[in-house]
């Protein structure tokens, strides 16, 4: 289960989501600017309040860290 916590105006979020789509990875996109519950969930999980945050089966990646994400998803270039 993959969740991306993002805001609509954050460019790193846009690139990250584009990257996942290019790799045909399905994910749930959570807009934290629209829901305080979702925002709190992101803060609790990541211990910080910057977007984007990706939750890959319980493992948290902050920012768009391409290598880390590819490693966790076990995908190649």
């Amino acid at each position: 289960m993959i969740k991306v916590y993002s805001t609509p105006t954050c460019a790193y979020c846009v690139t990250l989501k584009k990257f996942l789509k290019e790799k045909n990875i399905e994910f749930e996109d959570v807009d934290v600017s629209q829901s305080e519950t979702a925002l709190q969930e992101m803060i609790d999980q990541s211990g910080q309040m910057g977007v984007p945050v990706v939750n890959i089966d319980g493992q948290i990646v902050m920012g768009f860290n391409r290598h880390k994400i590819m490693e966790l998803l076990n995908i190649k270039e």
Partner: protein
Amino acid sequence: MYDLIIIGAGPAGLSAAVYAVRKKLKTLVLSQDIGGQIVKAHSVDNYLGIPGVLGVELMEKFHDHTNKLQVEIKDGTEIKKIEKLGDKGFRIIAGKEDLETRALVIATGKKYRQLDVPGGREFEGKGVTYCATCDAPLYKNKKVAVIGGGDAGQDTADQLAKYASKVYIINIADKLTGENHSVQEKLWQDEKIEIINTCFPLEVKGDKFVKGVVYSCNGQASQQTLEVDGVFVEMGSVPASDLVKDLVNLNDNGEIIIDAKTNMTSRPGIFAAGDVTDVPYKQMVVAAGEGAKAALSACKYLKTNQ
């Protein structure tokens, strides 16, 4: 081995990539992000043909264009080292990859000047942020402080006023600076916004997250504290030239010195373009033009140095 590796994916880097690929150079673009500083820009009004475009939209247009030309881009990649590779070219360690290229274009732009006070680094991502376009929506009904009263600080305060309950601007100068008078007028009239002139930040306080910012005014010893949940730093930027500081000559401002006609740096084979260089106008349209120049010069260099 690549013919050309371009470092940076803002207007300069991506424009260089378009020209390089069309010249059939084996090209790779490396970057931490795509779009560079423009993605932070709320609205861009001086790029020919698309007035009022959002920074993030413009970045997408650039990305679509380079995709169409099948430019190879690796973003989200940390570039660790660049070194000379005998007479053949250069070696780049990026993420876990070891890459080789005959020529380079450095288009890394600028990076933010960081808030170097106690707590400034510690609370980064925990209330201290450098990107209002990204994080402003997270501060709905909260109190925030903007550090910096220049154009970028004013723009940030204006964006934050849409969400936050109170926005303080801590400004080192005695009035708001810059030429954006329409934004300044808006800020003066907005009751949510309080401008604190001739003051500077001393410390960011908090527990897990930011709880306040301590500042002092007019050079006096007395300190005051604002209770805020967010600190948005807009203290200007510095050229992102650290990666190549041992390879090419920089000026006193840390900008890469280039030949104005060819964009070649002091080291043959390394070209540079855009805000990281000593080009006089740090503008997007200038950066795009400089990127094109750098790629065309690199192409010429590769032909004559087979």
